[in-house]
Amino acid sequence: AQSVTQLDSQVPVFEEAPVELRCNYSSSVSVYLFWYVQYPNQGLQLLLKYLSGSTLVKGINGFEAEFNKSQTSFHLRKPSVHISDTAEYFCAVTPGGFNKFYFGSGTKLNVKP
């Protein structure tokens, strides 16, 4: 079975500071990994995904994530955040294809001026 853990439910940060949102997963098989963002009163939008290849993945809005197989992690980073990055971020895994996604509980990023 698969599971996803996002240890931080809320992350406050000042504008232009760097941020890292943590994601760990457990799975008995190889997985695809994703980060989604949800702005207030909107649906989820894909930020980035890891399917194979380079373990450092770059996404939209300046975000990147690194897949670490030995630590079963897929942490999301941004070197300098903006007020507009305030949203909830979800890490997700799927064991293959797109029929079953397992989501973390989400991390609310609050960027303060």
Binding site: S9, G43, G97, F98, G104, S105
Partner: protein, 113 residues
């Protein structure tokens, strides 16, 4: 990408009643999914809506409570039956497109009094 429209965007309902949520996609898709997003919790897959066959439900979800229709490749409905306050949640329609990627509607926020 895929554009997904959900109706209603929000509703307030009385205990014991039923509500049907509609999901319209701008192009044909094989698989559509219904998720529930409860406050402070992960997104949870309710069922996979398959065109031409019965929906496939995840553990903990049953057809009598969450009947699903999938009359064609661009449309699906989810009904929440005999509602209780515990059903208050955001219900999300999603579709799979590129390998390992889900697209989401904006969700239907349901409050049961």
């Amino acid at each position: 990408s895929a554009v997904i429209s959900q109706k209603p965007s929000r509703d307030i309902c009385q205990r014991g009643t039923s509500l049907t949520i509609q999901c319209q996609v701008d192009s044909q898709v094989t698989m559509m999914f219904w998720y529930r997003q409860q406050p402070g919790q992960s997104l949870t897959l309710i069922a996979t809506a398959n065109q031409g066959s019965e929906a496939t439900y995840e553990s903990g979800f049953v057809i009598d409570k969450f009947p699903i229709s999938r009359p064609n490749l661009t449309f699906s409905t989810l009904t929440v039956s005999n509602m209780s306050p515990e059903d208050s949640s955001i219900y999300l329609c999603s579709v799979g497109r590129d390998p390992g990627e889900l697209f989401f509607g904006e969700g239907s926020r349901l409050t049961v009094l």
